[in-house]
Amino acid sequence: MTATAGTVTETISAPLSSATVAQLSEAAGDTAFLAQRRTEAHAAFERAPMPTRRDEHWRFTKLRGVELSELPTVVAATDIEAARERTATSLTSAVDLAGELLHVNGVTVEESITRAADLPDGVVFSSIAQAAHDHPELFEAHFGTVVPTTDSLDDKFVDLNTASLAGGVFLYVPRNTTVELPFRADVVLTSGGAVNWRALIVLEEGAQATFVEEFLSTDADYAGLSNAVVELVAGANSRLHYVTAQDYAVPVRHFATHRVHAHRDATVDWSAVGLGASMGKTRMETHLVGAGSHVKLTGLYFVNGTQQMDYDTYQLHAAPNAYSDLLFRGVLDDKAHSVWRGMIAVAPGAQGTDAFQKNSNLILTPGAHADSIPGLKIEANDVRCTHAATITKVDPEQLFYLQARGITREEAVKEIIRGFFTDVLDRIEVEQVRDQVRVAIWDRLDA
């Protein structure tokens, strides 16, 4: 049977229960595989305790007020036009694309999916639901392998994501196939909705592709919830560029788990931009599962007001001679708070590991605050690991120097911020995105 997955149009209200999960499964047109995964995830979700601030990785995450049981599980994609309009001014708009997809709240808009006419044979760019129907072998071989269902409290949000799945993207690039232009997904939260987003990106051996995703919302005052799970498979010798940008309206609360499996000699260039949302938790994990794999992760955040940005990064060296390099830089204004917790873990046998992590924060006001917690767990002996964390204020001597050349204090501060971001921006390899992100940040400075 090759049923076609249409766009889900029902709203199924929480609390999440066996009944709503079944209802959802039917509305989403689940294959047997997805239906089973959904049920398992729901059971795990029920078993997993809700994290609290006593739990190591959630110490800084103010979960009070985040009521998962009140989440509308799926909201029909009724605000498609508003969502589309919002994407026109996104950080990464106006880039020539290999394919594009619009996801509104929990639902992927099937009609929005475009594919370049000259996509190489075998490339799949579709919604998750469609992929589950049309390419069951490919889909089932990878779905849930990078971010599996567990009943650990750390995966509570992952399980919720899988149990509530009604959309997302599947990108598959076959062996030795290169797609030059980026694929892009816009994930948009509209008033009254909640985002549930899932991405499964698979590059087979020797494949090359770029995937860009951006989280946006249409209503500046709407405090919705967002929950994302991104699974990335970089096959042997593949080259993946991945950009994830979060530019939600400030009241939004955003939770995400992004994880890559980098196989033998794969190269991953991953860039993360964080500008929006009031709080949440973003896990960004690099599992170097293949020898000689190479991952560069670049993070950039800029927050103000009472925003709280909470990153948890993990570089797992599970294979020898792999390289990982993480640099996160953030600017904090007003009473903003950032948390960056980084861990490099080197498994026994991962000899010849080269791993770096660095987090730098520029604090613009006495009220802003950064927590920066690097960690190392090394179980091999032939390794090179370095970590660094810095929290600095705008240097008054730099300010004085620029002002002594006639530049106003306000402009001088902006120039110092621009200077602070220059290094991280330069690391973003996807050129079109880099320039747009730069412009977007400069514009934000002038706003």
């Binding site: 730099q398 006639g406 530049i407 106003t408 110092i416 200077g419």
Partner: protein, 278 residues
């Protein structure tokens, strides 16, 4: 006239008085040299004039271009035509020299922000071709290396490179009065001549006034100051012509000061002062 008139200036740093009543007038087109032992307060004077927040003015007045300089913010002073070539120029990583120079020129033109403005009468940013042209000219005049201006401002620059870029900025910003705080130290012999000639050119062609702080006669041989002042322990204790600088170089501070009837402070002995020996 954009003259700099300093009267009875007292300056403290962290509660300690460093300058104790400076009287000095630098007019446009004049070159003054300010000499004095290490720690006598020369840089303190330059920082205080430029408005560094750590330097507290406890007494006195400074008039610049007919206005009260001390009431102005740092950037206002600069835009009004006061320039300080720093003894130790600050590095600003991530900000390229070229970008910074364009910003500084635009700031001097009165451009606000990035210059995007709906008001047709608002000052316009310098056009890129014009900017390139003036930059090329100044770089040519001062023999500044092209690679240098692509780098981040003073970041990892050698001592001499920093000084050249200071003077490059001076040439581009066209100040009414420039204070050069030991611009000569760190420059090699050729660079010293090039920079000194550059300063001289701005003085003769554009009527810039200059206050040249130095320990050495060498730079003064190129720019021949009409006035030489000696600062000791926060006070100008002697003023004279170019001869005074020559005598200092030959004799050291103590005998020269004595000839003015001034007893050198106890810690100041002939030849004891770094950088003042002949």
């Amino acid at each position: 006239m954009a003259d700099l008139i300093i009267k009875n200036l007292h300056v403290s740093v962290e509660g300690t008085e460093i300058l104790s009543g400076i009287d000095l007038t630098v007019r446009k087109g004049e070159i003054h040299a300010l000499m004095g032992p290490n720690g006598s307060g020369k840089s303190t004077l330059s920082y205080a004039l430029m408005g560094h927040p750590s330097y507290e003015i406890t007494q006195g007045s400074v008039e610049f271009d007919g206005q009260d300089l001390l009431e102005m913010s740092v950037d206002e002073r600069a835009r009004l035509g006061l320039f300080l070539a720093f003894q130790y120029p600050q590095a600003v990583p991530g900000v390229s020299v070229t970008n910074f120079l364009r910003m500084a020129i635009n700031a001097h033109r009165g451009v606000r922000g990035d210059g995007r403005n709906d008001d047709p009468d608002a000052p316009k940013p310098i056009k890129i071709p014009e900017f390139r042209k003036v930059l090329e000219e100044a770089m040519e005049l001062l023999k500044v290396d092209r690679d240098l201006i692509r780098r981040y401002l003073n970041d990892g620059f050698s001592g001499g490179e920093k000084k050249r870029v200071e003077i490059l900025q001076m040439a581009l910003l066209n100040p009414a009065i420039a204070i050069l705080d030991e611009t000569d130290s760190g420059l090699d012999i050729d660079a010293l001549r090039i920079v000194a000639e550059g300063v001289q050119k701005l003085v003769t062609e554009r009527g810039m006034g200059a206050l040249v702080i130095t320990h050495y006669q060498r730079i003064l041989n190129y720019i021949e100051p009409e006035f030489v002042h000696i600062l000791v322990d926060g006070k100008i204790v002697a003023s004279g012509g170019f001869d005074l600088a020559k005598r200092l170089e030959l004799e050291g501070y103590a005998p020269v000061l004595e000839s003015f009837g001034i007893e050198a402070p106890a810690r100041v002995g002939a030849g004891e002062l770094a950088g003042t020996k002949a």
